[in-house]
């Protein structure tokens, strides 16, 4: 057991290196960030300057709020659409099931860049640019989510669903009352994934967002990036730390859910 901790600690340190650097850089003056010496601790503490720059130039809280609205909205709709679809693909026989599953696999492969232009034109045509709707709508359907839920739902015992049907549950009730509560770890895993990827997404927000009103956290980090003039590393890392923080907190919370899931669903009853 001691060996386990040692191995984990070693691997953990390796994995954390970029993070360590990021946090260290966020409290260093720019002139100290790139130095041949490998010191983590700054000689001159520039946290106030870097973080101050971020806080004054970028409405951080507003961006984070936008991030919460957008990621929350996306997640909600994704679950709303994907959980029943995943259930149907896993447990129901219906004509066209094979095709539907093929469609999901296809959707999984389509890079987000592909439908972007038509979506952009459509959003623009509907006058939805620079709105929460434009940020949320294109991601409400997630092939990944459907695929994930299908995969995890197939592991549920069929008799459980049969019992539910006999108890008078319709398929919708089964999905929300039986299937989802017993697939908590999978749902949590997905939620983490979804929130993380949309919190960090740059591609689509860059296309539809113009200005501060609806900007997402990742855009806040991008503010300090410049290919031509060289990035303002200190501020950029400070922004990255600030924007990543809510995610880390959210993960720590979700993790508790996750553990609970492990403890209560033995799925043997």
């Amino acid at each position: 057991m001691r060996a386990r901790i040692a191995v984990l600690a070693l691997l953990g340190a390796l994995v954390l290196m970029p993070y360590l650097w990021m946090v260290a850089a966020s409290v260093k003056p720019v002139s100290e960030i790139f130095r041949a010496s490998l010191s983590i601790w700054p000689e001159q503490f520039a946290a106030a300057e870097n973080y101050g720059k971020v806080l004054t130039r970028v409405p951080v809280l507003h961006y984070i709020w936008n991030g919460i609205v957008v990621c929350g909205g996306i997640l909600l709709f994704q679950l709303l659409f994907a959980v029943p679809a995943g259930y149907a693909l896993a447990k129901l026989r219906f004509p066209g099931r094979g095709i539907a599953f093929g469609a999901v696999m296809l959707g999984l492969l389509v890079p987000p860049h592909v439908p972007a232009l038509p979506l952009y034109v459509a959003a623009s045509g509907l006058g939805l640019l620079d709105s929460y709707t434009a940020l949320i709508a294109p991601f409400t359907i997630s092939a990944f989510a459907i695929f994930l839920f299908r995969q995890f739902f197939s592991a549920l015992p069929d008799d459980l669903l049969h019992a539910a049907r006999l108890d008078g549950m319709g398929e919708w009730s089964i999905v929300w009352r039986v299937v989802l509560p017993n697939a908590w770890p999978a749902a949590t895993a997905f939620a983490i994934f979804s929130v993380v990827s949309h919190w960090n997404d740059l591609f689509w927000p860059l296309i539809v967002v113009q200005g501060h009103e609806h900007a997402t956290p990742a855009l806040g980090v991008l503010y300090f990036r410049s290919e031509e003039a060289g990035d303002d590393f200190g501020a950029m890392m400070a922004a990255a730390v600030l924007m990543t923080l809510p995610l880390v907190l959210a993960f720590l919370l979700a993790q508790r859910r996750f553990v609970e899931g492990i403890a209560t669903t033995g799925l043997k009853g």
Partner: protein, 280 residues
């Protein structure tokens, strides 16, 4: 049941994709006043395009590196973290951190870590008296470096998925395995964990392959496909053709080929493997 999902899928994914894919048979360019129907010319050009060939090769290499390492690594981490109670929550968070990272910020960190002269990786290598490669700027090592970053990014996510899969295994089976004489962790793993993780593994495999096939961010931020296309991968080529060179028609043609090939691959995979991992 699937109706709302179906409609959303149609409107938000399928139709726009089809619209884009139709462009594959045109010479459409972003901002160009008109577009012409050119049949299969784009595909012909692709066959002759050195960049496309290199890009396919690089993508295969990248996927071949990242997928197995991140799956085995993720599984290993999941087992290791879940093996004991002590530090479980802590390490779960640690290994998951890279997943929540922002590519732009992390790219900067990696640039520094892998810096040929002032970076700590090479400093360590130097201390060990080993050669110090130009990680991201040499065509020999650039794919390897990107793959390492790819593994770093996805290993935590695979770990979480495997953890979710582990929870679905009935504890009773471990008890049975112990009584049947499974002497150590490895026996238990072979007899119970691995086979019962089958569906999860298939899922993680599919997802990892797709995610690594779709590698884009790190390439775009760190190497721009260079040096001399040594790190050019399919999606980057597609993006570059479509958005940097504005040749949306050609870019769509690449997408189409990409989709066709990968779909065939996935189809075979699920056909063959799905049967073998679900024990009704």
């Amino acid at each position: 049941m699937t109706l709302p999902a179906g409609i959303a899928y149609l409107l938000l994914l399928l139709l726009p994709t089809l619209a884009t894919v139709l462009l594959a048979f045109t010479d459409y360019e972003l901002g160009a006043p008109a577009l012409g129907w050119i049949g299969l010319d784009n595909f012909r050009e692709m066959l002759a395009d050195r960049g496309f060939g290199v890009s396919v090769r690089n993508t295969v290499v990248y996927v071949g590196l990242v997928t197995p390492v991140s799956i085995l690594g993720g599984l290993g981490l999941a087992l290791l973290v879940e093996a004991g109670v002590k530090g479980r929550a802590f390490f779960r968070a640690v290994f998951f951190l890279p997943v929540v990272s922002l590519t732009v910020a992390m790219a900067a960190a990696w640039q520094y870590l892998l810096h040929p002269t002032i970076g700590p990786v090479n400093a360590a290598l130097r201390a060990m008296g080993v050669g110090t490669p130009f990680w991201l700027s040499s065509s020999d090592t650039v794919l390897l470096s990107l793959a390492a970053i790819g593994v770093w990014e996805s290993i935590g996510f695979n770990m979480v998925l495997f953890m979710a899969g582990l929870t679905a295994i009935p504890r009773e089976l471990y008890a049975a395995a112990e009584v049947d004489g499974a002497r150590g962790g490895f026996d238990r793993f072979r007899l119970v964990t691995w086979p019962l993780l089958g569906p999860t593994t298939l899922f993680v495999l599919t997802i990892s392959m797709i995610r690594s096939l779709r590698v884009f961010d790190t390439v775009a931020v760190l190497t721009q496909g260079g040096p001399n296309k040594a790190s050019e991968v399919l999606l980057f080529t597609m993006y570059q053709q479509g958005f940097t060179y504005l040749r949306l028609g050609y870019s769509a043609a690449i997408t189409l080929v990409f989709l066709a090939v990968v779909l065939a691959l996935m189809w075979v995979q699920t056909r063959v493997l799905d049967k073998r991992v679900h024990y009704a």
